[in-house]
């Protein structure tokens, strides 16, 4: 089971144009700034950017991968700090802030950060996850 100060990750991922298009389709968010270079520039952007919600979803996927079996999100908050362009390499990591025992479950508070390789944070966030004590022990 997690202990305070446990480090999760890091995991390195590459956001491709294909993934952005797939996410547009899967989420129904067809805002042109995510696939049309010209329109993206018209809105003052350097070109197409990944959906903030794609970044948030990737960080959630990362947290799940790092979690004990049976862990579920109770609360998940992120701040979007930076845009992500296609073909940028990102590093996701986390740190366990606190773990509390309540009846037959643990509540764990985790800080997560996704950053551009050698660069700024893209998102920073917090998750509170519940883990059933039975699976946490096994």
């Amino acid at each position: 089971m997690w202990k305070p100060k446990d480090i999760l990750g890091p995991e390195t991922i590459l956001i491709t144009r294909e993934q952005i298009v797939r996410y547009a389709g899967a989420s129904g968010d067809y805002n042109p700034i995510h696939y049309d270079e010209e329109q993206a520039r018209r809105f003052g952007l350097p070109g197409v950017i990944a959906h903030g919600m794609l970044n948030m979803g990737l960080a959630a996927r990362f947290l799940e991968t790092q979690s004990p079996p049976g862990a579920r999100f109770q609360r998940y908050t992120v701040r979007f700090r930076q845009m992500v362009r296609p073909n940028q390499r990102l590093i996701i990591s986390g740190i366990v802030k606190s773990v509390q025992n309540e009846g037959d479950i643990f509540h764990a508070a985790i800080d997560v950060v996704m950053q551009i390789e050698n660069g700024d944070a893209v998102i920073t966030g917090q998750a509170v996850m519940t883990v059933p004590i039975k699976t946490a022990k096994s």
Binding site: Y23, G25, D29, L54, R61, F73, R75, F80
Partner: protein, 152 residues
């Protein structure tokens, strides 16, 4: 100025029901590079205690509400600043989730892009028996440039 009616802050949009489809969950999970079989295989989902394929944590954002009363948002160019979800009973394939949204707060700030309007938009989703599936808080920013675009 940003186009909204201040007397209608807190007024909920008409409820909008969404049928949660297996295919939509699988496609969404796939788009995020999920490998966890609970999102793809119903047997695995049931073994993990879900009645059907569960929705990944950020899936609720793909369930659009009806328009918020008294608010006109631009089609493109709004910046998503912050997002929070609080989870209730999990959303699974086969569920019907009824979503509504409301404007919670509006602030105007001067930034390097000129004036910015910062909106707090709340959203919630309920199961058919009234159980809360999720609550969502979004902070979105509309810059002066985009506002001009809407007005044009």
């Amino acid at each position: 100025m940003f186009d909204y009616d201040p007397t209608r802050i807190g007024e909920r949009s008409a409820p909008r029901s969404h049928e949660i489809e297996k295919g939509a969950i699988r496609r969404f999970a796939e788009a995020l590079g999920e490998k966890n079989s609970i999102y793809f295989d119903e047997k695995e989902a049931r073994a993990a205690g879900f009645p059907g394929l569960p929705a990944p944590p950020t899936f609720p954002f793909t369930l659009p509400p009806h328009p918020i009363p008294g608010v006109r948002l631009p089609q493109a160019g709004i910046i998503h600043g912050e997002q929070e979800f609080i989870y209730g009973r999990p959303i699974c394939a086969g569920d019907i989730i009824t979503v509504s949204a409301w404007l919670d707060n509006v602030k105007v700030r001067q930034g390097h892009l000129g004036s910015m309007t910062i909106l707090t938009i709340m959203r919630d989703g309920l199961h058919q028996n009234g159980d809360i599936a999720f609550q969502s808080r979004s902070i979105v920013i509309v810059t002066e440039e985009v506002q001009r675009d809407v007005e044009a």
